[in-house]
């Protein structure tokens, strides 16, 4: 489903339980079906393991505990996004709890006290959706 508002930017809306969040559409590569998560020991927060997707090893970054707490429902799909590391880019899989939606909307400035990783707000029909910066979100968790 695609929503359109004149003069806006495109975002991918993804659900985590009852709440939805958004990423700029230009950082999202695809929505993938459930795949075999392969964990191995590490000490990086939020990383749950890796996926093997079309021959690529994709780290899985589970942002749900940070955004909606420990009681997040089971994640059903993986949203594949591009993360930037210096001059290079790398796929990251974000587990989400349901279908995603592409929306075009005006990015509104953050009002009130919200975490640094919320870079703006989308005012949709019946909800206000927080737009996230993946890099700041990872950093915020690392600092916690």
């Amino acid at each position: 489903m695609t929503r359109k508002i004149e003069g806006g930017q495109s975002f991918v809306l993804f659900p985590l339980g009852k709440k939805r969040f958004a990423l700029p559409a230009n950082v999202v590569t695809e929505l993938a079906r459930p795949d075999r998560l392969q964990p191995f020991p590490h000490t990086t927060r939020m990383l749950a393991g890796v996926l093997l997707r079309r021959g690529r090893i994709v780290p899985v970054c589970d942002v749900a505990p940070v955004l909606v707490g420990a009681a997040a429902p089971p994640r059903k799909f993986f949203l594949i996004a591009n993360r930037t590391f210096g001059s290079s880019r790398e796929w990251t899989a974000i587990p989400v709890t349901g279908e995603c939606e592409l929306a075009t909307a005006e990015l509104l400035p953050v009002t009130g006290k919200l975490p640094r990783y919320v870079t703006g707000l989308l005012s949709l029909k019946q909800e206000i959706v927080e737009v996230l910066d993946l890099e700041l979100l990872s950093g915020a968790e690392a600092e916690a």
Partner: protein, 161 residues
């Protein structure tokens, strides 16, 4: 990218790892281990559980689970390394195989694992971390442990004398 590297697949904490076959001198059972109390040297030393005397050399035995911050499991095998006085306690050995290529660890992994692993290998549909054999015992840890063992030996000598 390395091509056609022989590796030994071993299990620890329910996870399969690979180590370069060239880094391993011997695979043996867990007999002949002498307890080592190194916890007083600091939390980083708690993974050194035993020493092994082999061919007149003292090896420091690393519990692989503690090295990888994993929960304990039952160890049945010991990987004695070739280039350093290190032996690794693991759950078991799977097999020897060859990896076609070594993939760099994704940049998203930013913690201790960047030192623990040389990279990742893909075997059929499985991703296997390829361990960095040098990470189990650093030079500094080796120096401190050798000094501690010498001190313990001297103390034993005094008591015995």
């Amino acid at each position: 990218m390395h091509h056609g590297e022989a590796v030994i697949l071993f299990a620890s904490a329910g996870i399969t790892f690979a180590i370069s076959a060239a880094a391993v001198d011997e695979i043996r059972n867990t007999s002949g281990l002498e307890p080592l109390r190194a916890g007083h040297l600091g939390p980083k030393f708690s993974k050194f559980k035993y020493t092994l005397e082999r061919d007149g050399r003292t090896y420091f035995v690393v519990d692989a689970n503690e090295h990888f911050h994993a929960l304990p499991t039952r160890h049945t095998r010991l990987l004695v390394l070739r280039a350093s006085p290190t032996a690794i306690l693991v759950d078991g050995i799977d097999r020897m195989t060859e990896i076609a290529s070594l993939h760099a660890l994704p940049r998203a992994f930013a913690g201790d694992e960047r030192n623990w692993y040389r990279g990742l290998a893909v075997l059929k549909d499985s991703v296997v971390p390829v361990v960095n054999a040098d990470a189990f015992l650093s030079r500094a840890e080796c120096t401190i442990l050798k000094a501690a063992v010498e001190k313990m030996g001297a103390a034993k000598g005094v008591v015995a004398g």
